[in-house]
């Protein structure tokens, strides 16, 4: 529901990353990473990005979203696994003491500029 604000931040960060000598070369793609345990709906984010990037140096660029799986490690038995459902307990030893390794990302990774 807050994808519009997120899209605006992405446009701001990606625009600031365009090198000064890139004038005249269109930005073709903005690559972002979105963890599956974030409150973001990728389709809504792409839709908002297309709207807020109009009339900016990113107009026409596509937003490529790499979804990052939720992975955890068990503090007690060191087992590592991918969390697919809403269960945050070690599947091997049933320990509740776990650490998330990934899945909370919301990062602008790179921008791509036409040569």
């Amino acid at each position: 529901m807050h994808e519009m604000g997120i899209a605006m931040q992405i446009v701001k960060i990606a625009t600031a990353a365009i090198p000064n000598d890139a004038a005249g070369h269109p930005i073709t793609r903005v690559n972002i990473k979105v963890g599956k345990l974030t409150a973001i709906v990728p389709d809504s984010l792409r839709f908002c990005f297309d709207i807020v990037s109009q009339e900016t140096p990113l107009a026409g660029a596509s937003l490529a979203i790499e979804e990052v799986a939720v992975k955890a490690v068990c503090d007690d038995c060191q087992h590592q696994w991918t969390i697919a459902g809403p269960v945050f307990v070690c599947p091997l030893c049933e320990s509740p003491h776990i650490q998330l390794i990934s899945g909370r990302e919301l990062d602008v990774d790179s921008i791509e500029i036409a040569d």
């Binding site: 529901m1 974030t38 409150a39 919301l106 602008v108 790179s110 791509e112």
Partner: protein, 223 residues
């Protein structure tokens, strides 16, 4: 040509949240971020919590809603200073962001406050994503909602430090499976304290107040 950026999208919010946290710490203010879906009874929980804490613990409240000052009007009766934030000025935002809290907090004399409670916008999705500089996050869930809310909104229930299961006075009239609800909570966030309460009858409130006061004291000692 690909240019690496590697920047967090919420960098700006996180930075302001950290500034808030430092300012609140410097002034000895404990901050509680209270979240829930609309209609869980958050405002009533807050009214009852304020009446048990005041005046020993000097409280202030920031209350977020998209529109209206109804909640602020209700909470003002507690005697605590209340600031209403209507996010329709901020594009009808579905959450309170760190800069909104920073601005709202300017309305208080923070030196005279021990506990700042932020009643976030009723929403189980977006507020979970935004750090506001709080010390604890608490989610209110009511027994008139589905038992599987924690499984449907895992981020919110992962991010919170405690949950209040509200409206338990209604249990005799509902087909609510209490065991299923606490089971989902334990799967999503094992070990998180869950307080079964009724803001109407005040059943269960002492345990919640005891936990909250413990957390406030703990922070006070760390100063």
């Amino acid at each position: 040509m690909e240019i690496r950026v590697v920047r967090k999208v919420l960098d700006v919010n996180d930075t302001i949240a950290q500034q808030n946290r430092q300012q609140f710490k410097a002034q000895g203010v404990f901050v509680l971020n209270l979240m829930s879906s609309p209609g869980s009874g958050k405002t009533t929980v807050l009214e009852k919590t304020l009446s048990r804490l005041m005046p020993d613990i000097r409280c202030a409240v920031i209350v977020g809603d998209i529109c209206t000052s109804n909640d602020a009007d209700r909470l003002s009766k507690s005697g605590a200073p209340v600031v209403q934030v209507n996010t329709d000025e901020f594009g009808g935002d579905c959450h309170l962001a760190a800069h909104v809290i920073s601005k709202a907090a300017e309305n208080f004399d923070l030196e005279g406050i021990d506990l700042l409670i932020v009643e976030n916008i009723g929403n189980l999705v977006c507020p979970a994503e935004f750090d506001i500089g709080e010390d604890v996050r608490v989610v209110v869930l009511s027994v008139t909602e589905g038992e599987d809310k924690p499984a449907k909104y895992p981020l919110m229930f992962r991010e919170c430090d405690a949950a209040l299961l509200n409206k338990i006075d209604l249990l005799p009239y509902l087909d609510y499976d209490l065991g299923a609800a606490t089971g989902y909570l334990a799967q999503v966030h094992p070990g998180m304290p869950v307080f079964q309460i009724s803001s109407k009858t005040e059943e269960g409130l002492p345990a919640w107040i005891h936990w909250l006061c413990g957390r406030i004291k703990e922070k006070g000692k760390g100063q």
